[in-house]
Amino acid sequence: MENTNEKNREMTAQESLSLITETLNSSRKEIIQRSSKYYILWGALLTVFSLMVYVLWKLTDKAAWNCLWFALPAIGSPLAHWLSRQDAAERVQNEVSRITQGIWTTLGIFSCAVAAFTLGYFYVSEGAQDFGMSLRAIVSLAGLTAEMVLIFGLAECACGVALKNWTIKIAGFVTGIGGLAIYYITGAEYEQLLIFTFAGLVLMATGLLVKRQYR
């Protein structure tokens, strides 16, 4: 049984200050550590989805498989919500956790909005006759893949800044700039989807590294 007097004892000034610093640092570490499982989840989903769309598009030559991307938030969001219900620490929020949540939510909204807008624009203004052609034009011509990977890298980097974690900051740079480099190097159409496989793998690796850092 715990010694109640020990827990209620008066401390020296140095001990008090150490306790405060330790508690505040441990809150920060906990928030960063907690974020790691979401990096792993979204990284895994991104990898699976990009490979799925890549393979299906390559095999059938139908760009319409890109519509599967809209299922990513539909599957990922409930899974992330379920994960957040799993432990008591998740019930605690602070400024930093709200900022990082806000960054990823904004990224999700931006991605869907940009994809929907570009799709609508090409379909209406370019007079594309079939849906598949519009999608092909978006991915190949509109540079949507490059835009997406850049905002993705930027979001990851911003989270690293908010969490004051270099691993996440560097991963954001690698995803954004590396993804863009792959965009220019790879061919058109389905090959470009491998950028998202790369981004997903980087995200997963980030999650695993962060988890290890703060174990």
């Binding site: 000034a13 605690v92 929020q93």
Partner: protein, 101 residues
């Protein structure tokens, strides 16, 4: 002359609770218990003391069918916590000066 340290905060468990609450929006009893490693009875007594002083606000409610006690630091608590840290720094500074002499 060194300032007097707030006796309410100058206790290990109460200070731990205040430090946790200073870094989050709010925390429930279970979380505080896990983080401090205190017993339910002891933690409950210390939370009551902090609440009576107006340093924290305690809300009792239900989450589903389970009772849930939530605590959050008040503006008065934030002020007291800041003053306490300032005083601590002065004490440590004074201690260093005297040991240097």
């Amino acid at each position: 002359m060194l300032p007097k340290l707030d006796p309410l905060l100058h206790s290990e468990l109460r200070l731990a609770v205040m430090s946790i609450l200073a870094g989050v929006d709010e925390a429930d009893f279970t979380y505080l218990k896990e983080q401090t490693g205190a017993t339910s009875g002891n933690l409950s007594v210390q939370i009551d003391k902090l609440s009576e002083a107006g340093y924290i606000a305690v809300e009792k409610g239900f989450k589903g069918k389970m009772p849930r006690t939530t605590c959050r630091i008040t503006s008065q608590g934030v002020e007291a916590f800041r003053n306490y840290v300032k005083s601590l720094k002065k004490y440590i500074g004074a201690g260093r000066k005297s040991s240097a002499q």
